[in-house]
């Protein structure tokens, strides 16, 4: 994935935690598929399960949005990867925010969801243009640029994140190339870090 082109939706709130992205009640699952319908569940639906008209994703103009604009500390809180699975299953391809929760950020990369850090003022500005609906944003992962309307801006992303987003590589496969190093550590690992399962019987 090198380029993401999509409709932008402004969700200009700070501290959108992963409990809001997907509530705990939907974590009782055994697969990661189909979580899009629970995305922002309590903001999106009322207690009877009816869509709340005031929530931006329920607005016809943003139904097809794939680029989410948010404010600082997006994805803080719980480590639940379900938050990323819900976003990607819903169709979100990129989230743009001034900062992200550390675990969320890593979870996102692992699932090919681009998290792009940008200055808050700039996001507010793009957000204002997006408000009316119909603002298409084009993100070039390779060149670290984002364009909308006649504007084009640059952002920066860690090289490893950029590479992984573009290649979609299987990280485990890659790590297995380091087998020698892993084994070498296992040889020298302090013996008192080993677990002897029988111990619990005597507790």
């Amino acid at each position: 994935m090198e380029v993401i082109v999509g409709l932008a939706v402004p969700l200009l709130r700070e501290n959108v935690d992963t409990d809001q992205i997907i509530p705990a009640q939907f974590l009782r699952i055994l697969t990661k598929n189909g979580l899009g319908r629970y995305l922002f569940y309590r903001w999106r639906y009322d207690q009877d399960g009816k869509p709340k008209p005031e929530f931006v994703l329920n607005d016809e103009r943003f139904k097809q949005a794939t680029v989410l604009l948010a404010l600082k500390n997006f994805g803080i809180g719980s480590s639940r990867e379900n938050a990323v699975w819900a976003l990607t299953d819903y169709g979100i391809k990129a989230v743009i925010a001034p900062s992200f929760g550390d675990i969320f950020y890593e979870n996102a990369v692992k699932n090919g969801l681009a998290c792009i850090r940008m200055d808050e003022k700039l996001i507010q500005q793009i957000g204002r243009e997006a408000e009316a609906g119909g603002l298409t944003v084009r993100i070039n992962i390779k060149e670290q640029s984002l364009s909308y309307g006649s504007q084009s801006v640059h952002y920066t992303m860690e090289p490893s994140v950029r590479r992984r987003l573009m290649s979609g590589e299987d990280e485990i496969e890659n790590t297995m190339k380091y087998e020698n190093k892993i084994m070498a550590y296992e040889q020298r690992m302090k013996k008192f870090y080993h677990v002897d399962r029988k111990r619990l019987l005597y507790e």
Binding site: R13, E14, N15, D17, D19, Q20, P23, A24, Q25, L27, R28, I29, L30, T31, K32, R42, Q47, K72, N73, I76, G77, S78, S79, R80, E81, V84, S99, F100, G101, D102, I103, F104, E106, N107, K110, N111, E120, E158, S160, R163, E171, I172, T175, M176, Y178, K181, I182, Y185, E186, M189, K190, F192, Y193, H194, V195, R197, R199, L200, Y202, E203
Partner: protein
């Protein structure tokens, strides 16, 4: 060169550095639970991969388990399925499992330290954000998502960008009735929810040195609420005494050797950090959160802030929080009435927490308008509390005394707030709907929660009479 404990443990476990500067870190201990592991196990199966080190992996059921009597059937079908999956997965992949019925079952971050699975100097990972707790014993611990859980299963390693280091130096002694929970909430209020992003926190200073390992765990547990993925405290004699004799701690033959090694890990006196903050907390009051994230916090003698006190850009968030919480600016904290009290969670459900709460409760009755419950962090904590007679104190006062689990901290089982209900809670997150749809959470210490249960509203526990011992 003077270095920090973070750098020392990092270096010991760094197997390689890739072209982009990420480190491959070996993970000595992996704790896993029924909710964030099923997809990871299933992926291993699909790809025909093995669990590399089942002997370093420990599974436990905690997040979704009921906390009622264990003889009763598990009514929630989805939770039951996740529990069944963990039985099958730990059997197929040969991990040790502390299941629902185990006498050592409990919250993942309670059982790690308590059973000696968490040791100083090790690296530890768990599919839960409060894994930062284990840093209290001098372990470098990381909360991870499910894909990373799978990565640790398959390789016993993680790729990590080396985080920046942040020192939080604390001086001054906490006055009677003020606890590490209050200190933690105060610090989150100072740093903000994102202040620790990209950093590992190290707590230093005389206040930290004088804290017990349990108190340190409460503090490190809450680091994640300031955005830090990990936090740590250099181990000392208190740590070693805590570890000694625990089920999986080094046995006496190895213990001295282990301690000798652990002593070398403490941060050097002149070590430098990317950021350093210091706080004098002698004047600290008990803290109460009023909003929908843990940084929205004030002292108990304070009042609900007005949106005007904040920068313009933050006002909409503050207004939304006040609306959700049903509070008005200027309202005194001690005038806020509560409907529910929850004492539990990996933040505050160790024996020491329950003991403090019991001291507050002893000989008193829960207010008629309050439903209060205690959920011990582990079955081991529960047994020990019962040995000391704490359960009778709670039961006589009108508290429910339940079995171990995450319970109302996350609201995945039937322990939940009803819409509009207001709780004094010893947990770690006051996010919207966290403890049940429409529920309103105020985070406080166990002593403050216990006192709120008795009075039906918040009170300043430092003004209370409580017995020094029970």
């Amino acid at each position: 060169m003077a270095t920090t404990i973070i750098e020392k443990i990092w270096k010991e476990h760094e197997l390689a550095v890739d072209d982009d500067g990420r480190s491959l870190i070996y993970i000595d201990r992996h704790l896993t639970h029924e909710v964030t592991s099923p997809v990871a196990f299933e992926d291993l199966r699909i790809r025909g991969r093995k669990l590399r080190r089942p002997d370093l992996t420990v599974a436990v059921m905690d997040h979704n388990v009921p906390t009622g009597p264990r003889e009763e059937p598990i009514r929630d079908e989805l939770s039951y399925k996740q529990m069944q999956a963990l039985y099958k997965n730990s059997e197929d992949f040969e991990t040790m499992l502390l299941d629902y019925y185990s006498p050592f079952q409990g919250i993942i971050h309670i059982i790690g330290p308590e059973l000696g699975l968490t040791l100083p100097g090790m690296t530890l990972a768990a599919g839960d954000s409060h894994t930062s707790t284990h840093g209290a014993l001098g372990a470098l611990a990381f909360g991870i998502g499910t894909s990373e859980v799978e990565h640790v299963f398959a390789t016993q390693t993680l790729w990590l960008k080396k985080p920046k280091t942040m020192e939080i130096k604390v001086s001054g002694s906490l006055r009677r009735g003020v606890y590490s929970k209050d200190l933690a909430l105060f610090l989150i209020g100072q740093l903000g929810t994102g202040g620790g992003i990209g950093h590992i926190l190290e707590y230093t200073g005389e206040t930290i040195r004088s804290m017990t390992p349990d108190e340190r765990m409460t503090l490190c547990n809450l680091s994640t609420e300031a955005g830090a993925r990990s936090s740590i405290i250099s181990p000392d004699d208190k740590t070693f005494n805590y570890v000694r004799g625990r089920a999986f701690a080094p046995d006496e033959d190895d213990f001295n050797e282990a301690v000798e090694y652990w002593r070398t890990l403490a941060s050097d006196p002149n070590a430098t950090y990317d950021k350093s903050y210091s706080f004098d907390v002698s004047g600290l009051k008990p803290m109460v959160t009023w909003g929908t994230n843990p940084s929205m916090v004030v002292p108990v003698n304070g009042s609900i802030p007005s949106p005007d006190q904040f920068e313009a850009s933050r006002r909409p968030g503050i207004e939304a929080a006040l609306k959700y919480m049903g509070l008005t600016p200027g309202q005194a904290i001690t005038d806020i009435k509560v409907d529910r009290v929850f004492i539990g969670s990996c933040t505050n459900s160790r024996l020491s927490d329950l003991t403090i709460a019991a001291r507050v409760v002893k000989g008193r009755k829960v207010s008629n308008s309050v439903r209060a419950m205690v959920v011990p962090g582990s079955q081991y904590v529960k047994r020990n509390a019962e040995r000391k007679g704490l359960h009778s104190i709670f039961l006589e006062a009108g508290f429910e005394w339940r079995n171990a689990g995450c319970s109302m901290c996350i609201g995945m089982n039937e322990d939940q707030l009803l819409p509009g209900e207001r709780a004094a809670s010893t947990t770690n997150r006051n996010f919207e709907n966290r403890q049940g749809p429409g529920g309103r959470t105020h985070l406080v210490s166990p002593a403050m929660a216990a006192a709120a249960a008795i009075e039906g509203h918040f009170v300043d526990i430092t003004q209370w009479d409580m017995p020094e011992a029970i």
